[in-house]
Each structure stands twice: as C-alpha cells, then as structure tokens.
Amino acid sequence: MSISNEQLLEMYYSMLLIRKFEDAIDLYAKKGIIPGFVHLSTGQEACHVGVVKALRPTDFKYPDHRGHGAILMCGTDKKRVMAEIFGKATGINGGRGGSMHVNDIEFGNMGFNGIQGSITLTALGTAFASQYKGTDEVSVVFMGDGTLGEGACHESINLAATWKLPVIYALINNQYAISTHYTEAHPQKQLATWADGYGVPNEVVDGNDVEAVYEATTRAVQRARKGEGPTLLEFMTYRWQGHFAGDPAAYRPEEEVQAWKEKCPIKRLKEKLLAKGESEEALKVIEDKANKEIEEMLEYSLNSPEPDPEEAVKHVYVGWEVESKK
C-alpha cells in the first residue's frame, strides 16, 4: 500500500482543519456562545482522518461523542456541521442535536450517539444490511477506551464475529475515560487483546501516525468487504484537552500531557512532508486555506438564525403529530 504525496497533503490539510475547528469550538464554547458542553478531539486528528479517508461515502461511519473530526471527514457540508454545534437553524440537523449529535445519512454519517456503547449495536444493523443485500459497504464504529466497559460492546462483537458482519471497531485509546485511566477500568494492557477472546483480528496502531491509521483501516476494510468479518483496531493516542471544553483535567500529570503534545500527529506529518521535499511555503498555503475555511464556517454559524421553536416537536413520529404549544 502506498500513499501518494497528494493524499498526504490532503490529510495534512484535513488534520489542520480539524485542529483549528476544535480550537474555534473551544473558544466559542468558553465564551458561552455555543450552548451545552463539547468534547474536543484535539490531538486525535490522525485517527479521525486516517480512518475516514480509508472509507467510501457509502460506508457507514459512527462518530462517537468526541466525533467532530470524523464528522468533518464524512463529506457533510462542514459549515452546517459547525452551525449544528452552534444550535442554529442551518445546522445539519436543524440545531436539534448539537455537538454530540451531528449526523447526515446522505454521507453515511451516523453521528447521533450520546449513550456510550450504543452505536456498536446500531452498526450491527447497517452491517447486517450489507450482508442481507449482498453489497459491500462496511460499518465503522468509533469508540473510546472507556466505552469498552459497556455490555453493549460484547453483544456487538460476539454477534459480528459469529455472523461475520462487516463491522470495524475503531477503538481510540486516548488513555482516559474522563478521569479514569484505561488500566483502571480494564484488565488488559492493550485493549486490542480483548478481541482475541472472540477470535477477531486486531491490531494496535500508532494513532498519531495518520499513515499507519489509514493503512490499518484499509486492511480491515478489505477483510470486511470480502465477507471475512469484523476487525478491531486500537489506536494509541491522547486527548489534549480535558474531557469537555473547560474541564481542567487536574486528574492527570502535566508531564504526561506535555510528552504527548511532543508527539503531535500534525507536527509529525509536517516533518514527514518536509522530509519528502514539500516546502514550508506550500504547507503554509495549506494552513492558510484551513484558516480561511474556519473563518467562513464561523461567519456562517454566527450569522445563522435560531431554529423556529415549533421545530422542537417535529419528527417525533412519522404520520402522527404530537401536541405543540400552538
């Protein structure tokens, strides 16, 4: 498998875009302009970019609660992703979902998850439909190290393995579930070994190396498309921010955070690109482009109207209207 320079540059752009997107969200969340709370994927960009770039628009992608990065990669109109997080009428879901619930069926973006573990089960269904219809779309579920504690994960992998469903578990091990280190919540040293118990192929992958992520995902996808069943990929990475924007994350050592920041996936790719002969200037152009796009998204989001309140009771049922306040 070889990744072209062009692809790498595109990945570089994407990772920068996610980084800047999260920075913007962080800022507007702390300003109190974005309602509710937001979980940022800063530091995990390589996982989101590497996984989704290895997929087709027709595949089913299940971003989790820390999913902005993956969502931005799906193909969904990015400014409408941001507008959704701002709770605006122009949001991709009309502002009814917000940060944790940004979905877009058109691009197989199944971001609707607020209950950890739940999407490992929904993914069984989209994967089953491929098998049922004899098509080759795969279903990729993002999940965190902490989420692995949920019983749902077991029911999912047990069935996927038994029925050989095209499910890929993209387990982002960013070391913590809120304040709890993964070694305090699980008995395994590497969570990937959990899949051994089901005979499910698994790999531990450097989650800060976008090429490694892309390649591992591609292998898993190939297996899945051929009907060989599920794979679990454990991406080792780190959550730079607190659990949510504003969480001081006092529960973890500052040196640990610094050490991981040294391993920044974007810096790493940049060095690789420079080594491959790309110029600082060319990379600067890409960065400017990302900055500009974020500016446009922000402008769009900030200037979008609030939803019509009556929308709050729409689409509860198909063919049955619930009472509104008239």
């Binding site: 089913f60 879901n93 739940s118 089960l121 269904g125 989209t126 749902a152 047990n158 049955w320």
Partner: protein, 325 residues
C-alpha cells in the same frame, strides 16, 4: 375468506404474508428461526426463507440495536423478545435509539422496526416472566405501543405495524395465544392510532386491552343481565394515545372504568383517567375507576398469582360502584 384460527396462528400468518410481500421484511430473535419461536409464533418462516430468519445469541441489546441499524437501511426487521420482561435488557436501545432515531436525524431517517414481545401473567412463571411492560415505555415519545386483544386484531395490527414507519413495540399476550377467532385468509390492515369500540352501550364505558378486553366483555355481558348497558372500547394502540374514541364514548355515557393487567400505579389506566378528567370533566357523572393488578411482583404459586391479578368480578364490581355513585 374467514376461518377460525388462534391468536398465535393469526400472528404467524401475518408474518408469512408480510415476508412474502416485501423482501425487506426479516425476522430475528432467540430461537425464532429453526425452532420457530419459544411460543411457536414464527414457525415455518425459516423453512421458506432461511436467509431471512435469524436465530440470535441471548443478546437483547443486539437484537434491538441491529434492528434499528437495519431499518435505517430500508429493511423491515421484526424482532422477537422471547418474554416482554427481557426488554428490560434492551431498554436503552428502545428508549434512546429506536424511539429517537427519526427525531435525531431531523426526519431524514426513520426506524420502521417491530419488536414483538409476549407479555402478561397467568402461566405461573413468576415475576421475571409475567410482567406487563407498556408502562415502562409510555413516557417515551417516539415509540408506538400496540397490544392486540383478538386474533383478528392481531393479524391486521401486525401487518399495519410492519408497514408503518415508526418503531413499534408489539405486545402480545401469552394467555391469548390459544384463543380462537375469525380471521380472514387474505392480508388486511387495521389502522394504528385508532381505538375500536368492541361493544356498544350507553350507561358506562369500559376501556380495556389485550387479555383484559375479554374480562371487560364478560363483565359487560353480566352487567347487561342486570340492565346496565356497557360500551367497551379497545384502544389497540396504547401509545401515542388517540383520545377521540374514548372521549366520545365517555362523553355519551358519563362513566368510565379502565382495566389493565399491569400493577395499578402509573399504568395505562392512570393516563386515560387523567386525560378524561382534564378534557371532559363536566360530562363525568361519577369518579373514574381503575381495575388493575395489585402493586406487587407477580408471584409463582397459582393462589398467589391469581390474588394479584384483576378478575372479571373486579371489573363488574368497579362498574357497579360507578353506576351506583
């Protein structure tokens, strides 16, 4: 053409006909395929369509979750939960996934799943195999709950449920599986969200569903002998609630008894009582009475089980009290 068949057979026939009609329909659940279901309700399907009948592991979460995901892709899953009690294990999937999918996707996705589950007491299987579960789900917007009381309704309502685009919890009653009644051979739909007047009357309205409908009808018969004319309304769809039929009936009779098998507190009867009081208080000639199980788990021994369940006698008594008020 109509024949006399059982409630269980009527459901089975609906499944066969819908499998035949639409290749997106498939069934899944524990022992539903090769064995045809613990209560035999899915018999014959696997033999005809082996790839469209799936035996799952004991994984109620996966059953409902898989159904939701498959529905998003245009399939029409009909899942069986072996005993309704076990939906407790997939409660999250019902409440936070199935019920909200359409809403979460801002209307761009729907979740046309049917989760069939036999419920109710009477078979002497104690507290983990006897519960009536509708109350667990009636504060969860987005779900539809259907509970047929006759073979005719069971077939028509199941066909409508499979064709409907909402997530439907289809509650069958174990004690009705062997009950016989007239059922047309051909496929037919019975509208959801529409109560059915099962007996016309003018003095008092009794609302009852599932097995309790038959208690209500028997009570009505007995009361008729004493000169009381009872109207019996079967809501059929328990949730969301179509109010008109009940309100029209009580508007006419001015008296209401509601019968449910679930424990009394926070049951379907409570909601109907609240609605009627709120909307047509001025028409009420007497307090609304609820007939229900006592607020206790269903114990095993027949004398214990029978003690907590409502009886026909209880219905008659409540109706008389309302009449004599």
């Amino acid at each position: 053409m109509s024949r006399i068949i059982s409630y269980g057979k009527a459901i089975n026939e609906a499944l066969h006909q819908e499998m035949e009609r639409d290749e997106n329909v498939f069934i899944l659940g524990e022992d539903v395929a090769k064995m045809g279901g613990d209560f035999g309700i899915t018999q014959g399907i696997w033999h005809k369509w082996p790839h469209r009948a799936k035996d799952t592991p004991l994984s109620e979460q996966a059953i409902v979750g898989l159904a939701c995901g498959a529905a998003v892709r245009g399939l029409r899953p009909v899942a069986e939960i072996m005993f309704a009690d076990f939906i407790s294990c997939s409660f999250d999937q019902m409440v936070n996934n199935a019920a909200k999918l359409h809403f979460m996707f801002n209307g761009k996705v729907s979740c046309p799943i049917v989760v069939r589950a036999p419920q109710g007491a009477g078979i002497r299987c104690a507290y983990h195999h006897s519960q009536s579960v509708e109350s667990w789900f009636m504060n969860v917007p987005g779900l539809v709950i259907v509970a047929p009381s006759t073979p005719y309704d069971a077939k028509g309502l199941l066909i409508s449920s499979i064709r409907n685009d909402n997530p439907i919890l289809f509650l069958e009653h174990k004690m009705l599986y062997n009950m016989k009644g007239e059922v047309p051979e051909e496929s037919y739909e019975i509208p959801l969200f529409k109560a059915d007047v099962k007996r016309q009357g003018s003095d008092i309205t009794i609302v009852a569903y599932s097995r309790m409908l038959h208690f209500a009808l028997e009570a009505a018969e007995r009361l008729a002998q004493e000169g009381v004319s009872v109207e019996v309304v079967d809501p059929r769809t328990l949730y969301p609630i179509e109010k008109e039929t009940i309100i029209n009936s009580v508007g006419k009779t001015g008296r209401l008894v509601i019968v449910q098998e679930a424990p009394k507190t926070m049951g379907y009867a409570s909601e109907i009582s609240a609605i009627v009081t709120e909307e047509i208080f001025e028409y009420l000639k007497a307090p609304i009475k609820r007939v229900a199980s006592l607020d206790a788990p269903v114990a095993f021994s027949p004398v214990l089980e029978d003690y907590v369940l409502p009886t026909v006698e209880d219905v008659v008594k409540a109706a008389k009290e309302v009449m004599e008020y």
